[in-house]
Every structure is written in structure tokens, then in C-alpha cells.
């Protein structure tokens, strides 16, 4: 990892120095050893403050949106999750590929509280699926991590148990919208929750409105979720949001054969297309 850290600093330095990018987004140290944070490098000489270690939990891609209208490119440390997020943003028309310069990093998985991070143990793309240059050798991908195990577990319960499970979870929600703000698929200019004129739903933080928000958000991203796990990681109330996201990912795969999202920048997501031979259960 120190190798990658060194190359990362070197390349960020060179790219900034050559004026190829206006800013480089990577990770920097915090005052805690076991934490790293997003770091924005604007000057070549600051590149030495970049770090890359097993604590780089944040998926950085969504920050590129801040630079989408800039005259120059932005550099991005790009692991599997960042790469798919970039594809997501491009496919959703929010970003143009020529606005980003991607330094690909094969990832070994990160640690969270001393254990392999939840968002990494089910990861199927440790290597970036898109990049401009790749730092280091490609790593071996996890073979069929049991992504849907927890979904299956809940699916097999009774609907009363499922209902109670979610009501209990959403009772905790404080409607901080951190999940939405961090999500690369939640990239709408203005979220439906803010549309007070239409009044899609109430703003009160009560169990009902919270769960309506939770399920609506899940539906909105269901066919476009890149499974970066940021929503769940960031949730201050520890709501297992990936369980419902993965439920939809699983259904999209089973119903429409679209296995994963964010693998290419011109993909059409499952609900934006159809097949005349789709499953017919409404006859």
C-alpha cells in the first residue's frame, strides 16, 4: 500500500505540475491513525499529504460533481467503487468523461473498526472498471461474495417480521439525508423530498415518513445502485440500508438479467428499457 501511496503522490504531483488537472481528489490523514478522510489537492507541492492505506473508506467519486463545470479536469483516486460511481454519474448525464482524470487503484479492501469494512467484503470490483492509468498490478477479485445472504434471510421471514424489522429500523432515522447526499446514484439536481409544491411526502421525521423516504429512495436507485455501501456506512443511526438496496439489485438481476450497474458509461438502466419477453405475472 505504501507503494501505491508513493505512486499516487508522484502522479498527482506530476498531473498538477503539468497543469493537466486543477485538483486531485484522494485521501488525507486525520488525527486518528485508524481514519482517513477525503483530501482535495490543488497545488502540486501538497501532494505529499495524500495517503493511501487500509482506512480510506470514503468513496470519492461524487465530489467530482463540484468540478463538472470547471474548465479543467479533476484528478481522482479511482478504485472499483469510485470507477463504477463515475460510470453512474456519466450514464446519468451528470458528468462528462473528459472532465475527470482517473488514477486507477487496485484495492485490497478497507478496514472499519479494525475489521474488514462491510462495504468491501461483498465487493466484486476491487479493480477499477474504468481509468486513465492504473497504479500497480491488478488484484484478484473476490469470487461470488455472498452479497444477497442477508437479503435472503429477511425474504424468508414472514411479512409481519419484515414489516416490524423495517419499522424498527426507520424509527431510528433522523432524516439527515446523509445517505442521499453521499450516494453516487442519488445525483438529482433537486431531490423529490424537497419538492414541497408537489408534496410527494411529508418532511416530519416519524417512522412512517421515514420509511416512505427509505423505500422511495431505494426504488429510485434500485436499478442503478453500484453497491458502494456508502449510504449504510455513513448512516449515523446504523440503518442497514444496503439490505434494501441489495434486495432491488437482486430482483433486477433475477427479473431483467441486468447483473450489475455502473460497469459502463453508456449503460441504460433496467427501468429505462424493456424486453417484450419480460416475466409476465400480471395476466
Amino acid at each position: 500500500m505504501t507503494d501505491i501511496q508513493n505512486i499516487l503522490r508522484e502522479r498527482a504531483h506530476a498531473l498538477l505540475d503539468e497543469g493537466k488537472i486543477a485538483c486531485f481528489i484522494g485521501w488525507g490523514a486525520t488525527r486518528f491513525n485508524e481514519r482517513a478522510m477525503p483530501k482535495f489537492i490543488f497545488k502540486a507541492e501538497e501532494s505529499s499529504s495524500l495517503v493511501y492505506n487500509e482506512h480510506c473508506l470514503n468513496t470519492l467519486a461524487k465530489y467530482t460533481l463540484d468540478f463538472q463545470y470547471g474548465a479543467e479536469k479533476v484528478g481522482l483516486a479511482t478504485r472499483g467503487c469510485e470507477a463504477r460511481a463515475i460510470n453512474r454519474l456519466i450514464a446519468d448525464g451528470r458528468l462528462s468523461r473528459d472532465k475527470v482524470y482517473l488514477l486507477g487503484i487496485p484495492c485490497q479492501g478497507m478496514l472499519e473498526h479494525g475489521k474488514p469494512a462491510d462495504k468491501c467484503v461483498f465487493c466484486r470490483h476491487r479493480n477499477p472498471v474504468v481509468y486513465d492509468e492504473l497504479l500497480g498490478e491488478k488484484t484478484i477479485e473476490l469470487q461470488n461474495p455472498p452479497r444477497f445472504e442477508s437479503v435472503l434471510e429477511l425474504e424468508n421471514k414472514s411479512d409481519t417480521e419484515r414489516y416490524d424489522f423495517w419499522q424498527k429500523q426507520f424509527a431510528k432515522c433522523i432524516r439527515c439525508y446523509a445517505c442521499r447526499n453521499v450516494c453516487p446514484a442519488c445525483n438529482c439536481l433537486e431531490c423529490y423530498t424537497e419538492q414541497y409544491r408537489t408534496g410527494w411526502q411529508g418532511k416530519q421525521a416519524n417512522t412512517l415518513e421515514n420509511s416512505v423516504f427509505g423505500f422511495t429512495r431505494a426504488y429510485h436507485i434500485g436499478d442503478r445502485c453500484i453497491e458502494c455501501g456508502e449510504c449504510e456506512r455513513i448512516c449515523p443511526m446504523e440503518i442497514p440500508l444496503m439490505k434494501v438496496n441489495r434486495k432491488l439489485v437482486k430482483d433486477v438481476e433475477e427479473l431483467f438479467g441486468v447483473e450489475e450497474s455502473g460497469l459502463s458509461e453508456d449503460e441504460i438502466h433496467a427501468l429505462g428499457s424493456y424486453n417484450k419477453e419480460d416475466l409476465e405475472e400480471f395476466m
Binding site: G222, A270, L271, Y274, D278, E280
Partner: protein, 147 residues
């Protein structure tokens, strides 16, 4: 959660019907003087493709005991492809609702053409009976959740 006696329970069911097929089918049922339960309330829309799945959540939230989405048979859409998108949306939404703990009978989708008055009546009969048997919905319902 209140426990209710189902015997005198009259469910309220909301149906979203497309103008060109199912709404026409419902009109034909009327024209033929077919009889079906009065529990259904229909919202007319141009196409089943107009039905935003969020409308379904809203209906449960407000108090409907069941929701039905109806459109033209695949291939018969007045706008050629609307119901193909409907099918995808609701295949997914139906599973999500079940995952959220809403009983599967509470949300249903059906293709009913403008000539299938009998099918319209039979669908309403069946759905009404299924939901009557389930009892009133309390899940995700505004009036029943107070915290």
C-alpha cells in the same frame, strides 16, 4: 396496532386504470350492467405507464387497504410501449413492497383490455375478497402510526 373484527369490514381499494383499455373495460362492465363490489375507486390515467410507483406508497399511507394497477395487455398499449415499462416498474415495486412487509395481495397489477368487461368484474371481485380476508391495512398507514 388495533385489532379489528373483519366481518363487517369493507375494504377501500384504489385502482389506477389506463384510459384506453381498463377504464374502457370498466365502462363496458357498466354498459353490460355487470355487478361488482362498491369498494373500488378508480383513478383514470392516460396510460398505465403514467403510474408512478410512489402513488402506491401514498395510497397505503393515506389509508387504502389495497391498490390495483391496470393497463392494456402487453403489445396492445395505445402508446405502443407504455405498459412494457409499467411491467418492469411494478415487477420490481411489488417485490419491494413485499420486502417492506406489505402483504402481497394488497398490491396487484392486471392487464385488462377494453373488451374484457368480465375480466374487470372478476378481478374486482377477487381482489376485494382477498383484501377483505386480510382485514384492514395498518401497515405504512398514517392514521395508525403515531410516533
Amino acid at each position: 396496532m388495533a385489532i379489528t373484527d373483519n366481518t363487517n369490514f369493507e375494504p377501500k381499494i384504489l385502482a389506477f386504470c389506463c384510459n384506453w383499455c381498463t377504464y374502457t373495460g370498466a365502462d363496458l362492465a357498466g354498459l353490460n350492467r355487470m355487478k361488482y363490489p362498491d369498494n373500488i375507486r378508480i383513478i383514470r390515467l392516460p396510460c398505465s405507464g403514467r403510474v408512478n410507483p410512489q402513488f402506491i406508497l401514498r395510497a397505503f399511507q393515506k389509508g387504502y387497504d389495497g391498490v390495483l394497477v391496470c393497463g392494456c395487455h402487453p403489445g396492445d398499449c395505445h402508446y405502443t410501449s407504455g405498459n412494457y415499462f409499467t411491467r418492469r416498474r411494478f415487477l420490481l415495486m411489488k417485490r419491494l413492497l413485499e420486502f417492506a412487509g406489505i402483504e402481497r395481495e394488497r398490491f396487484q397489477a392486471r392487464w385488462i383490455s377494453g373488451s374484457e368487461a368480465g375480466k374487470f368484474r372478476d378481478t374486482i371481485l377477487k381482489v376485494t375478497e382477498e383484501i377483505r380476508a386480510l382485514g384492514p391495512n395498518h401497515r405504512m398507514k398514517e392514521a395508525d402510526i403515531y410516533d
